[in-house]
Each structure stands twice: as structure tokens, then as C-alpha cells.
Symmetry: C2
Subunit: 309 residues, 2 copies
């Protein structure tokens, strides 16, 4: 709506510098008639001439001088904006807000943030620890840029599934789920199955993990008796060590705690492993910092969380 456009400002400025339309045209990479015609149009729009031909050259009117003066302000604001956007594009600035589940806090997240900080010193990093469903909500609300989540196969309430195309998910690794049992308990050499724990008391934590447990036990043909509830891996191990029950624990949860002697970890057939993902909004693809964080996540070395401890 404004009768003033950027081209006019740039042209007037160039004319002010060069004192000639030809010079201005050359300076801006235009043909001479382009400048001439553009100024005519602009003058018509503004209702008064911007330049006055003076012999062979040209000089600005007061209106032209006004534009030339303000052109400087506009140009520098534009340059500043361009510069800042370039910095975002070049990952010399920007921000990544990561949301991840508790077990990742001590493992995946520090490594990820470390890698990002090393590669892109200018990028601001922040982290919040929440369970996967909340992490996805944060993404959707625009309060986080990258979520590190896990999902269990066949999870009927998997929050990822609720937003099919909205999320871009990059699988990072498989996180095997082990059973922690008291080392004192008798074990024959036979292959372990979940069925063997049908009469055990269970220690279970977060709803999502518990969901997986219930699902697996149902498949195995029994319903687990959950006697103790905690999310804390160290606490779970303590309970197990003292013979108070058995528990499922992902390998990732074990990698940042010391496993007591009294606890034995066993792989159980039919116990589905969970998968850990880096998740971003599909709509946020293209945002440099988000793309970089996703890439950094899939490039993480995850060997020590996948090979047996």
C-alpha cells in the first residue's frame, strides 16, 4: 500500500550518489531506461518529481532527498535482518530446545548436546526432561524443537501414532529390555521366557513402560502382579537386589547406574525391545538448527548402549 517500494529507495540512493541515471543503473545492474522509467512511475505515485533533469545530469528534488535519507535506515535494517538470517542459516546462531525422557538425560542427551555445542558454538541449547508423551506435546506446542523419545512396538497408546504425518522420526537405536531378577534365584540353563516370571512380584514404573509389560505378559498368558512402583532405575535395582521382585529394565537405563551383585540381568524371549527416536515436527524441517540437531542425533555413536554391557 505504501507508495514507496524498496527498488525506488535503492534507485534514489544510487542516483544521489552517482548524480546520473546511467551511473545509478550501472551501479545497480539495471539498464538506463529501467531507472528512468522506474523514477517516472514512482514520481507519479508520490505525486511529485523525485529528480529534476539539470542539463545532462540530474539532481534530486526535496522529495527525492527525503527518500534518499530514509533509504539508509531501511537498507541497514534490511541488511541486519539478512545478516541475522544468514547466521541462522549458517548455524552461527539459533536455538535448539531438546526434550527427552529421564533415562536419556544421562546418556543420549549429554552426548547430543555436546556434539551440537562443539560443532555449532553459536547455537543456544536447552533441555527439559519429560516423558515421551509430554515431549511430543512440547513439540506440537512449539515449546521444544527436538524430542528424544522411545516407543514400544504394538503399543496401542503410542503417542507417536496419534500424529502420523506431523512428526518426522529418526530411529536412533534399539534399546533392549532386560529382566532384572535377584541373582539368588535358581536358574537352570534353559532358555529364559517371560512365562517363568508369571508368579513373580513385579516392580514397574511409568505408564508407558508398564503398558509394555502388561502387553508382553498378556501375550505370554498371564497378568503380572505389580507390587512396587518406581521409575528410578537405581531404586528398582535396589528392590530387586533385596529380593522384593523382578522388573523390566531397558539397557539404556542400566548404562548410567551400577548394577548390584545381587541382581542378575537376563534376556527374555518374547520381550520386545523399545526403539529410541529423535523426533521433530515435519513442519520444522528446513529450520537449520532443527535439521542440524536431527542429523547430529542420527550420527551419534550409540555402540555402548546397544552392545551388551
Amino acid at each position: 500500500m505504501s507508495e514507496i517500494d524498496l527498488t525506488t529507495l535503492r534507485i534514489v540512493r544510487a542516483v544521489a550518489d552517482e548524480k546520473t541515471l546511467s551511473g545509478a543503473a550501472a551501479l545497480l545492474g539495471y539498464s538506463q531506461p529501467a531507472v528512468s522509467q522506474h523514477l517516472s512511475r514512482a514520481s507519479a505515485r508520490l505525486g511529485q518529481p523525485l529528480v529534476i533533469r539539470a542539463g545532462r545530469t540530474v539532481r534530486l528534488t526535496e522529495a527525492g532527498a527525503v527518500l534518499a535519507r530514509h533509504a539508509v535506515t531501511v537498507q541497514s535494517a534490511l541488511d541486519a535482518a539478512n545478516g541475522e538470517i544468514s547466521e541462522l542459516g549458517g548455524l552461527r546462531s539459533g536455538a535448539v530446545r531438546v526434550a527427552a525422557f529421564p533415562t536419556a538425560s544421562a546418556t543420549v542427551v549429554p552426548r547430543l548436546l555436546g556434539a551440537m555445542a562443539a560443532r555449532y558454538p553459536g547455537v543456544r541449547l536447552s533441555y527439559v526432561e519429560v516423558e515421551p508423551p509430554e515431549a511430543l506435546d512440547l513439540l506440537r506446542n512449539g515449546r521444544a524443537d527436538l524430542a528424544i523419545t522411545f516407543r514400544y512396538p504394538d503399543d496401542w497408546s503410542d503417542p507417536h501414532a496419534r500424529y502420523p504425518d506431523e512428526l518426522t522420526m529418526a530411529p536412533l537405536f534399539d534399546d533392549e529390555v532386560l529382566i532384572a531378577e535377584p541373582a539368588a534365584e535358581d536358574r537352570d540353563g534353559s532358555r529364559t521366557t517371560l512365562q517363568q516370571y508369571s508368579s513373580s512380584e513385579w516392580i514397574a514404573g511409568c505408564p508407558q513402560c508398564r503398558g509394555n509389560l502388561l502387553q508382553a505378559c498378556q501375550t505370554a498368558g498371564f497378568q503380572p502382579r505389580i507390587a512396587h512402583e518406581t521409575d528410578n532405575a537405581a531404586a528398582v535395582l535396589g528392590l530387586v537386589a533385596n529380593g522384593l521382585g523382578v522388573a523390566q529394565l531397558p539397557r539404556l537405563a542400566l548404562s548410567s547406574v551400577t548394577v548390584p551383585e545381587e541382581v542378575r540381568l537376563v534376556r527374555v524371549a518374547g520381550m520386545p525391545s523399545r526403539t529410541v527416536h529423535a523426533v521433530a515436527l515435519s513442519a520444522a524441517r528446513g529450520v537449520p538448527a532443527v535439521d542440524a540437531a536431527l542429523l547430529a542425533a542420527v550420527e551419534l555413536d550409540v555402540g555402548d548402549w546397544t552392545s551388551p554391557a
Copy 2:
């Protein structure tokens, strides 16, 4: 050149305010697809998204926020420029630099400047006194906006004629040229002719006026003997009053001095009158202050300079 255009800035700003593309479109008078497509193009140009769709609404990315922030600066600069140009257009600001010949300094110019000052208090006025040829040079050099000049008919060196289309000339009035002679000299009742002064001594001033005198005398068949040279009307009258010669004097020059008793003013057949003009550069037509000054000049009441004193 710059990947950023004003429309993008205005749209991003509107989106920042409205939180929705539809709202922004309505705010700006666009259709909704226009906003959507424009943002797509802008994102492509900038290499990163400006908005992220969040459910049914939308929110800005960091890049978008950068633009929205700088948009304020740009907009206010543009508004300022627009405002200043409107003031020029509305004659609440601007400048008129007038150049006029000495005789006009005490007559036409004060009245003109007075009228302008009264009508347009915001317009800056300035004045320089120069002879017509210099006044036209000032116009051409851009050092004056309006010239008050005179011209004699059949003046072979008329400076106005050198720039045929470059100048816009508005005739103000005819300035009759009289002969000042000592009142003591005998005069019969017959009609006065220039021929009668062929043996007189003349007092003459500026080259242009003298040119006219020479021209007229040549037509009358003699060459005037110029004994005294001055431009000053009072001085001329003093010389005439003391019987030192005769002189041609335009009525305008007489209107600001007192004519001594000893001087008689006579109209002479064949003495061409000069015409007074307001002159501006044709190229400056359209400049509000110049147009207004030209108009004010032709609207001046010139009665007391044209009717016999």
C-alpha cells in the same frame, strides 16, 4: 537483490500479530492463499521457513521473528518518509528559493514572499537579488527555484531565449518604460518621440537595459551618448533632476523611490515596455512548492505597478 521485500515484512508482521494466515490476510486486504503462497516463496528465497504450522494456527520460526522484529524499523522509516513527502505535497514543508532583479526586490518579491508565507507557513522562503541572466543560471544550477525576471521585446541577447523548453515562464505584467527628463526642459504639447532625445546625454545602467535603449535609439535613427552609468534609480533621478541628462526608467523602478520635483516622466512612442515574468524550470513543474510559488506569482495584485503613478 535483497531476498527480503516489503510485502514479506508486512505479511510476517501481520502474522506475528494475528497468529493466523487468514487473520493476516484479512488485516492486509489479501486473500488467504496470497499470504500462504507469499510466505512459501519467501521461505524458499531465504532458505528456511518463516512460519511453522502448529495445529490449525501458525507460529513464526526464529527467522520469521527476525523479520518481524526488523519490520517495525523498516515500517517506521517508510512511514516517516511518506509523512515527509505528504508534508511536501501539502505544502506544510518545502522550500522556495527566489531570485529576482533589483527593482523587484522592493516590490514584487516582498509581496510574493508575503503571500507565500501567509498561505504556507511551513514553507521555507529565501531570496537572492541578481540580474535576470544570473537568475536563470541559478535556476539551471539548481540554486534557485523561482526567478522573477524581465525581458525586453526584440532583445537579441535575451537570456530566456537560450533555453526554449527548459523554462516555464509566467508573464506577470507589462512594465512600461518611461523617459525621465529635467522638468526645466522645454516641452511643446506635441506627442513625444524618442527622436527628440537624440542629442541628449543619457544615463544608463545594466547591460540588458542599456541594450534596450540602444536598440530603441537605433530604430529611432540615432545612437545615444551615454555619459553616466548607474543602476540605482534614486541616483538616476538625482542626475536627471540636476540636468545632467535623461534616462529610461521602468515604472516598477519608480514605484519605490520618490521622484524629485525637478524630474518629469514622459511616455515616449516607440519605447518598448518590458515584461516581468515568473520563471521556473519546466522540469520542476510538479514540485509542490514550485507550483505554488508560480501560482502565487501570477495571482499577485500588480495594479499599482501598471497603472500610471
